[in-house]
Structure formats: structure tokens, C-alpha cells
Subunit: 256 residues, 2 copies
């Protein structure tokens, strides 16, 4: 008879950048870890400790990282996988679940914990007011994981539903045309004056924010670090002189 050690794996979200947005629960998990796994820039946010081992990997290696983390946990180690933002929104919690689903049965006995965090859209929205203050949709524009036809259908239906829309992964170094096509789809059912918020590198030194409209957005300035929020018909902009305008989505919806 073989016995196995019951391991322990926590997936934590470190938020969009600054330490002041990291929850005490996430910090506690990180501090207690024996092994830390993650995409290099996220691991770099954590101070080195002699008794901890960092296992850095590249952005595209989510499933390998999840498998490695589970194997370590199954061997009895206290393992933490770090994500930016919230680990449950286009991030590592999904990859870990997927790895368990397709992995050896003993992985189901591992004590899995997920520590929520501040995801990029909440930080971006907070910087300008409350554009996600009423019903909204959250859509990734990356077509690595799904066909463009699916993305387009989702954009069309959520635009028709008059939801504000937060767009993750709007572009990458090699992928620039999706965001243009997404704007074209949204313009079919939404006015060109619909407010748009572009939040680049929110919470970091190089943060830039702009408030524009669906018709006026300069698509070229949207990159992989940009979180895009497109308003609904109930999204309003409050001019404030030299300050960035406030953007919010009204709490009341009139009959359509």
C-alpha cells in the first residue's frame, strides 16, 4: 500500500500592481509558501526569502505551470501560484482547475485554496468613477483560445443587451486587428458617442488613463497592457475642468 502526503496549493491574485492593492490574505499565503510559481514579472513583485523556492515561467506556459504546481503540492509541499489581478478572471485559477480535471486522481485530494484579488477592470473603473456601476460583460479579445466568430457573437449580443463591456487582452505585440474589429461590431448597435475608458498599466508608475468615445478612440494606442471599458447607453461623462472627467453608468434604466 502506498500512502501519499496531502499537499496544499493556493492560487493568489496580487492585484494590478501596487502593494496597497494586495489583500492581507494573499500576502499571508505568499509569505507561508515553500514554493512559489508564476509568470516572471509577478514573481518579481515578491521579495526573495531564503527558505522559499521561486519557479519562474513564461506567460504562455499556464498549463505546464499548473501541472508543476500540483505535482509539487502532491509531494507534500506548501505551494503558491501567483497571478496578477484576480486569479479567477482570465488567470491561473482556471489553468489549475483544468490541470486537476485532466490530471491523476490523487490531485483531487490536494487542499486547493484560491485567494481573490482586485482584477484590472475594477482598478481601471475606480480610476475614472464607476463605468461598471450597473450590468456589464467581461470579454477577452484573445483569439488564441477561441475562434473570432465566438468573440464577435458575444460582442454583438452584449452590445444589443446594452451592457457596459470590459475588454481584457485587447491586443498583443502580434495581434492588433481584433480590437479594430471589436469596435466595428460594437458601433453597429451603440452610438459613436458612447464613452470609452482606456486604462494602461493601472496602478503602476507608467499608468495612463484616457476617456474618449467609441467613434473617437485611437485604436493604435491600445496595447496588451490596456484595459478597455466601453459604456452602455446609460454611461455618462462629467467634465471637471483640468481633472480627468468622471465616467459612470447610471443606476436607473428606463424602459427600452
Amino acid at each position: 500500500m502506498s500512502t501519499h502526503l496531502k499537499g496544499n496549493l493556493t492560487v493568489v491574485g496580487l492585484g494590478p500592481g501596487p502593494d496597497e492593492w494586495v489583500t492581507p490574505a494573499a500576502l499571508d499565503a505568499v509569505t507561508k509558501a515553500q514554493d512559489l510559481l508564476g509568470y516572471i514579472p509577478y514573481l518579481n513583485r515578491i521579495p526573495n526569502r531564503e527558505e522559499q523556492t521561486k519557479h519562474a515561467s513564461d506567460n504562455r506556459e499556464e498549463i505546464t505551470r499548473a501541472n508543476d504546481a500540483l505535482a509539487l503540492a502532491a509531494s507534500g509541499r506548501r505551494v503558491v501560484v501567483v497571478s496578477g489581478g484576480d486569479p479567477g478572471v482570465f488567470a491561473m485559477a482556471t489553468a489549475v482547475c483544468e490541470a486537476i480535471d485532466h490530471g491523476p486522481g490523487v490531485w483531487r485530494d490536494i487542499d486547493i485554496r484560491i485567494e481573490p484579488g482586485v482584477t484590472a477592470m475594477l482598478a481601471a473603473a475606480a480610476r475614472v468613477g464607476a463605468p461598471l456601476g450597473h450590468d456589464f460583460a467581461v470579454i477577452s479579445l484573445s483569439d488564441i483560445l477561441k475562434p473570432w466568430a465566438v468573440i464577435e457573437k458575444r460582442l454583438r449580443l452584449t452590445s444589443e443587451a446594452d451592457l457596459a463591456i470590459a475588454l481584457y487582452n485587447p491586443a498583443s505585440r502580434t495581434r492588433k486587428e481584433q480590437i479594430q474589429r471589436a469596435f466595428d461590431v460594437m458601433k453597429e448597435s451603440r452610438g459613436h458617442n458612447t464613452p470609452v475608458v482606456l486604462a494602461k498599466s493601472v496602478g503602476r508608475k507608467e499608468e495612463t488613463l484616457s476617456v474618449t468615445t467609441l467613434g473617437e478612440t485611437n485604436i493604435a494606442q491600445i496595447d496588451m497592457r490596456t484595459l478597455v471599458i466601453v459604456g452602455s447607453s446609460a454611461t455618462r461623462v462629467i467634465a471637471r475642468g483640468d481633472q480627468l472627467p468622471l465616467v459612470y453608468t447610471e443606476r436607473f434604466v428606463k424602459e427600452t
Copy 2:
């Protein structure tokens, strides 16, 4: 010529309950406030300090609270409005923006800051895995602020778009029929085996979690403290013996 003091107002999200989910930035703002305004249970989560004044109000008084907070800030006070969860998701940041939009012009000069937090759906999702790990919609079922026809249309279109759906305000003491109608609408385009997560009072002592399906959900157990997550066609459940199953939405979407 009259001068006015440039006030200062921060809207903070305290997360769903436990202190370990309150960001250092939110805690810092609360600590430095001269006046704290909020719904009574949220204010009760903050220790009393001699030099601070707490202004408690009822849940329904969002706009009055926002107006009071802005008037205090305009008089030169350092004011904090506290929300549960994230202040930008069905919470006080929207009411404050709305009050500025409709209030006296000088309110636009107030230094407004919004501190993001962990909103209920992220905490609920984290407890069971990653049901919001791919595209999703966030919809409030309260028909106090919008007609039922709008809610129904949004549920129908987001179901057709095959998004996971997080439902806020699914019921109240007096409002029980919306959640039944919502489930009926979602069943029209989604299989009865679609996973459903019910997360009641997440992060509190009385927390209860259940994983069920669209067809099997006992609607009667859903109340105002319940966050409901309905999966997409790509949401999977991983059985784990005595432990609560893991629920996640696959990262890959096949052609539809």
C-alpha cells in the same frame, strides 16, 4: 468673492466581509478619514476612533448619503464613504458620481478617489474554483432600478452569448419571484445540467456554498445575501469525494 475649501472624498470597498480581504489602500483611507458615511453594517466593521465621526444610514438611502458626503467634503472635511465589496459594482461609487452630476458645480472640484475592492462574485468564484475564468456577464436582478423587461432581455442575450453569468441582488425579503423568472429565461437557451454556484454570505461566519445545476437549484434557498453564478456551456464540475466539487469554465472555446 467667495472662496471654497477644496474637499476630499474617497469611496472605499471593504470587500465581502473578513478583514483579510480589505486592501491596505482601503484601510489607510478609512484610518485617515474625519467623517465616515455608510450603510450601518459596513460602518460597524470599522473600529470607533475618537477623532472620527460615523454617519450611519439605511441601505436605500444611497443618494442622500452621497449628497451628505459631498457636502461635507465641499466644506473641507476628509470624508470616506464605505461600501461592501467593490464600490464600483452595484455600490456607492455610482451614487457619488450621480450626485456630482446633478449637484452644485463646486462639487466637481472635490478631490474624488475610489479605492477598489474584492467584489462578491470574485470571492464566491474563488471559493469553488474558477467559474468566471472565461467571458462572463454581471447582472443585478433588482427591478427597483430597472424594468423587468430590461432584465429579461439581458438574461436572454447573455445566455445566447454563452457567457457565464454572475447575478447580484437575486432576491430580497419582499422580492422572490425574479430569480425564478431568471432561471426560466436562462433555461430556454442553456441545458438543465448547466452548473450553478450559490454562495451565501461569502467570507462570513455563516457562509454556505453549494454547487448545483440550473435544473436542480432550490430557488427557495436564494436570498439577498446570496451571490448566484450560472455557468456557460464550457463550465465543468470536478467531483472531489467529501470536499465541495471544483467548478471552472474552460479557457478554450470550440467553434459554435
